[in-house]
């Protein structure tokens, strides 16, 4: 894969060739709530580019500012500083009803005094579209989300998944330039959520509309997105394709937040380009990727995924570190083996092979192409 650290578009997940037309451009946007002493900074000079036809996800724990950013694009909040451009036009200070974007709310916010089709028509009616077009679009939307049979139901007679689909149809009906989705799957149970993930991806492909999706669920983000922005405490830490975020986390927070990962202390020696010489606890040495070229020599944190490791005999030449099997956690398709190193650190190895007995000494092979030196 492309070497992220050397790419000219570093930190955006975009290669020169992949660049499309900017649909949303968030330019150094700061949002503060409250005034004076009590002011809380929800977003701290955040910049992000979202392309046309892209499925873009804002991922982060609660309170990281992802929903605030979405609400700024929708127009429910106004930025304290900075600009928001939609398809080249500054919209940061327009009221929501003047922005060609629509939102799928976390609570769906379906109008309880209207039927399913009345809900879907609402946006078209407000835009004063001709009756024939409203009829036609409403029918097309009902079939897009497979709700034709329930067109005249009241929304409180629908299940959670059905309400979800009506909310989607209602937001897609006016053909917005951007569809904003605020944790729309969080109220659904696991099975339904998986189905809806596929459904959302299908809708995005079929409509060609730019989706901006907010979630705290890293698996959801990796499954659906073209690109993901990982946020923390009002900042965007890393933007990239799911694979890039997963395999080449730039920061310790990103590595920790996404998937299972081992983070251990090591010592960084010589640095050449995007790679550096790392000495592991126990003395073994390997060449690892640097998440940032500014990392200086000395004590660092390195990260590697449990599924990239392999258990080997303690005297095997491939063993990068040596320790004792402390615990084995079985999870169906394999087991997580917890290996306690001599310096007290525990490394988790995911394996489906046969495993040595508890307390047995074992070696762990850490392939160097899967090791990343992190910035804190």
């Amino acid at each position: 894969m492309a070497d992220a650290a050397l790419s000219p578009m570093k930190g955006t997940g975009l290669d020169e060739a992949e660049q499309g037309r900017d649909m949303v451009l968030v330019d150094r946007v700061t949002k503060e709530f409250g005034r004076g002493e009590q002011a809380v900074t929800a977003l701290d000079a955040v910049s992000v580019r979202i392309l046309e036809n892209e499925f873009f996800t804002l991922l982060g724990p609660s309170g990281c500012g992802k929903t605030t950013l979405l609400r700024l694009i929708a127009g429910f909040e106004l930025p304290t500083r900075g600009q928001i451009l939609l398809d080249g036009q500054e919209i940061g200070h327009l009221p929501p009803y003047k922005r060609p974007v629509n939102t799928v709310f976390q609570s769906y916010a379906l109008f309880p005094h209207m039927t399913v089709s009345q809900n879907i028509r609402f946006g078209l009616e407000m835009l004063r579209k001709p009756d024939a077009e409203i009829e036609q679009t409403t029918r097309a939307m009902l079939s897009l989300v497979r709700m034709e049979a329930l067109a005249n139901r009241r929304t409180d007679q629908l299940s959670g998944g059905q309400q979800q689909r009506v909310a989607l149809a209602r937001a897609l009906a006016p053909r917005p330039k951007v569809l904003l989705l605020d944790e729309p799957l969080s109220a659904l149970d696991l099975k339904l959520r998986k189905d809806m993930q596929i459904e959302l991806k299908r809708l995005q492909n079929e409509t060609g509309i730019t989706f901006v999706f907010v979630t705290h669920d890293q698996e959801e983000a990796l499954t659906m997105s073209d690109r993901v922005a990982v946020m923390q405490a009002g900042n965007i830490l890393q933007i990239g394709a799911p694979k890039e975020i997963y395999n080449r986390p730039a920061k310790r927070f990103v590595a920790d937040f996404i998937g299972d990962i081992n983070i251990i202390d090591a010592t960084l020696g010589n640095v050449t380009g995007a790679k550096g010489q790392v000495t592991l606890p126990g003395g073994a040495s390997l060449t690892a990727y640097l998440s940032d070229s500014s990392i200086s020599q000395g004590a660092v944190s390195i990260a590697f995924r449990p599924e990239n490791l392999r258990l080997v005999a303690p005297d095997d030449a491939a063993a990068s570190v040596i320790g004792q099997i402390e615990n084995v956690v079985y999870f169906g398709s394999g087991s997580n083996v917890h290996v306690r190193l001599e310096n007290g650190t525990t490394v988790v190895v995911r394996t489906s092979d046969s495993i040595g007995a508890l307390d047995a000494r074992t070696g762990v092979e850490i392939p160097e192409e899967h090791v990343q030196v992190l910035v804190d």
């Binding site: 929708a74 127009g75 429910f76 009221p95 929501p96 009803y97 974007v101 629509n102 939102t103 709310f105 609570s107 916010a109 379906l110 109008f111 309880p112 005094h113 609402f122 946006g123 407000m126 835009l127 209602r170 937001a171 006016p174």
Partner: protein, 273 residues
Amino acid sequence: MVDLSFRRRRMQDLRKQPGFDQIAIACMFVLYAPIVVLVVFSFNDNRSVVRWTEFSFRWYAAAFGNDGIRNATLVSFQVAAFATFFSVIFATMAALATTRTPAFRGQTAAYAIINQPLMVPEIVTAVATLSFFAILKRLTGVTGIGYLMVAHTVFCIPFAYMPIRARLEDMNLSLEQAAADLYATPLRVFWRVTLPLLLPGIFAGAMLAFVVSLDDVIITLLVAGPGETTLPIYILGQIRRGITPEINAVSTLLLGLTLIFVTLFFFLGRKRT
């Protein structure tokens, strides 16, 4: 498990406290026995309101045939209808302004001012209104039932305000945001989303305002001019000359009407989004 059984035990305990039943029955008796007596004797075929003889509708017939009662009822309904209509409009505007705007300086003061008629002794409001209207009448030369209607509107506002505001606070703000997101201007958001969803609250507020206006004595007594006698004032006047079962009959009808309104209020208030 432990927690649950503990809570259940406590709930049972409350009702098993010694004297619980007796106190409850005593309260119910004091509250409702007089009303039961009033209703029973309205059907008494006798001039007495303490000695039962035979069942009859004669006092209802007498009440319906009484011009004084008919006129007073008409005045009462006119005043109540006017006061209800306008107090609901003002209360709705006040409720929107206190729930659908960002918190503003003096919000607590605004609540207090809106609810003021509930807290100031009614006799004070009545005397103040009387002298204020006297000045207005002298300055403008205008007289009439309008003054009484305005006075009723004013004290009905806080009663109409309460259920409307409660309803607005219950209503999810994201519905209005969703409408704005779907290109509805603020005015269209109000007509298409806020108002339809607010209607149960508005009806409840209207019921309450109507009953309160129908019921009022003190302010009406001081403000009402000649020919503006409302039903409670008429009843009060009759009682001075001794209670007759005719008054019982009128009171029973008023009670029946109030019950209908309060029941409607209860059911409308209970219907949730």
